[in-house]
Amino acid sequence: MKYLCLVYSDEQDLHGLPESPKDSECAAYAESLVRSGHMVAGEALQSVHTATTVRVRSGEVQITDGPFAETKEQLAGFYMIEARDLNEALRIAQGIPPARVGSIEVRPVRQLQVD
């Protein structure tokens, strides 16, 4: 079963605290998930200041600056993982280094109903 682990954090805390993870630590964790066969895909994201939001309303494209919702914690990266069940997904999520300064939202992937 696939789960998306969304990494949220205050962008200051993500890099500015003593317990903030270094890139090398994040890369090592991602690499360990690749080796254990749990990693489907994962990336860290540029700062939320680089975000652009696209909407289509009545056929018209609207492009705006910034993220969809202004919140204290921003989406900082994601891991798409393969796990046996939620307990295994939660074990993987608690090892994601930014969990120490932000939070990881674990969401099961939904199969599109195309029948």
Binding site: R84, D85, L86, N87, E88, L90, P108
Partner: protein, 414 residues
């Protein structure tokens, strides 16, 4: 003969239906399908047992039959795309491949409890789901206990089951590294169930009182399957609190405080069992919060009277609790106990310091305790004010009547 079997079947249902359900949930990996299968299995038993006699192992027979019926239904309806695994591993006929892993049955109940109390479910849903699936209370009974509508409870249960299915919350007892945290969540649900019944104030409200017994039963089951110190501690705590049930209210349903209770009404059997459990729970290297609270309850239970109670030891136990968990509510209880050691003056000063904490600003027992201490010191006007504040913070009828009586008494002394 037929009526004998019917009554025996009722007994089997009462004793084993939750075990059968738990195993069916593991085998079928679907709550609703398992509930239907349970129902089908008992319907079959009602037809076949009077004719063929009761099978040697009725529980295993019910599991096999329920599983067979469920698979049959999936085949006929072809309704679940994701259930191929069941068809692949299914026996052709229940009699040909009898259900044999009987020794996994108790584990299945523990698995079910951990699933129902999974921290990814919302806390209210955990309690409702546990009472429904593990304790077999109806949605109406759960609603009555929590003073809410059956539709609300039903919806909570439906949503929780849907989340278990779609997020793949597993049906398992967590491994050693996760067990402490997950067990906390289970014990919390059990204590909540118990407290909902324990704090039930009107004697006519049988469903709520029934819950206290249900909490104890559930804890016994967990202890039997998972003999850990904190489970023992919680069972002890509940037994010791429950042992006072006949002394806590008078015939009009008015509260009788611990210090005024007729101790001959306390249940000695439960006290003996509770105290023995506490002693075992406290033998480990570190004592958990339930064991420590149970130890305090045990000291009260063994004391001949309120004044002849080992108060210094109670204060020491509160200190141990505070060292584990710096909670203002525990600090308040410590202050009140300390009044019996260092006197009401010191206790009142401590309570006033604690009331500066916003967490206690709306907490009824804090103002009731403050009023009590002021009354003991003869500060009747101050006590009256504190009782008035306490009265604003509670809606429970017996608590309100108690506070009103105290207020009137203070007023007379002015």
């Amino acid at each position: 003969m037929a009526t004998d079997i019917t009554s025996e079947l009722q007994q089997v249902y009462k004793a084993h239906s939750r075990r059968v359900l738990a195993t069916l949930i593991r085998l079928l990996r679907d709550f609703d399908l398992a509930e239907e299968a349970l129902h089908e299995a008992f319907t079959c038993a009602l037809e076949q047992w009077p004719r063929d006699g009761i099978p040697d192992n009725p529980t295993a027979w019910l599991v096999s039959t329920g599983r067979f019926k469920a698979i049959d239904q999936i085949r006929r309806q072809r309704r679940f795309a994701g259930m191929q695994h069941l068809l692949d591993e299914a026996p052709i006929d229940p009699q040909e491949a009898p259900f044999s892993d009987d020794d996994r049955l108790p584990d299945d109940r523990l698995r079910l409890i951990f699933t129902c109390c999974h921290p990814s479910l919302n806390p209210q849903a955990r309690t409702a789901l546990t009472l429904r699936e593990v304790c077999d209370l109806t949605t109406e009974e759960i609603a009555a206990a929590f003073l809410t509508k059956p539709a609300t409870i039903a919806q909570r249960i439906v949503r929780a089951k849907r989340k278990i299915q779609s997020a793949a919350i597993p049906y398992e007892v967590p491994g050693p590294s996760e067990l402490p945290g997950r067990l906390d969540s289970v014990l919390q649900v059990i204590y909540l169930v118990f407290n909902e019944g324990y704090s039930a104030s009107s004697g006519s409200d049988l469903v709520r009182r029934h819950l206290a017994g249900e909490g104890i039963r559930l804890c016994r089951l967990v202890l039997e399957l998972l003999p850990q110190a904190e489970v023992r501690g919680l069972l002890a705590l509940m037994l010791l609190q429950h042992s006072r049930r006949d002394a806590r209210y008078d015939k009009d349903g008015d509260i009788i405080l611990l210090e005024d209770q007729d101790r001959s009404l306390w249940q000695t059997g439960e006290i003996a069992e509770g105290c023995a459990l506490v002693r075992r729970a406290l033998t480990g290297p570190t004592s958990g919060p339930y064991a420590l609270q149970a130890a305090i309850a045990a000291i009260h239970a063994e004391a001949p009277s309120w004044s002849d109670t080992d108060w210094p030891q109670i204060v020491g136990l509160y200190d141990a609790l505070l060292a584990r968990q710096n909670s203002p509510v525990i600090a308040l209880n410590r202050a009140v106990a300390n009044a019996m050691v260092e006197g009401p003056d010191a206790a009142l000063a401590a309570v006033d310091r604690l009331l500066a904490n916003p967490a206690l600003a709306q907490y009824f027992p804090a103002f009731a305790a403050r009023a009590e201490l002021q009354r003991r010191l003869g500060h009747y006007a101050d006590a009256g004010h504190s009782y008035r504040r306490a009265l604003e913070l509670t809606h429970q009828a017996p608590e309100r009547r108690y506070i009103e009586r105290q207020m009137a008494a203070c007023h007379q002394r002015l």
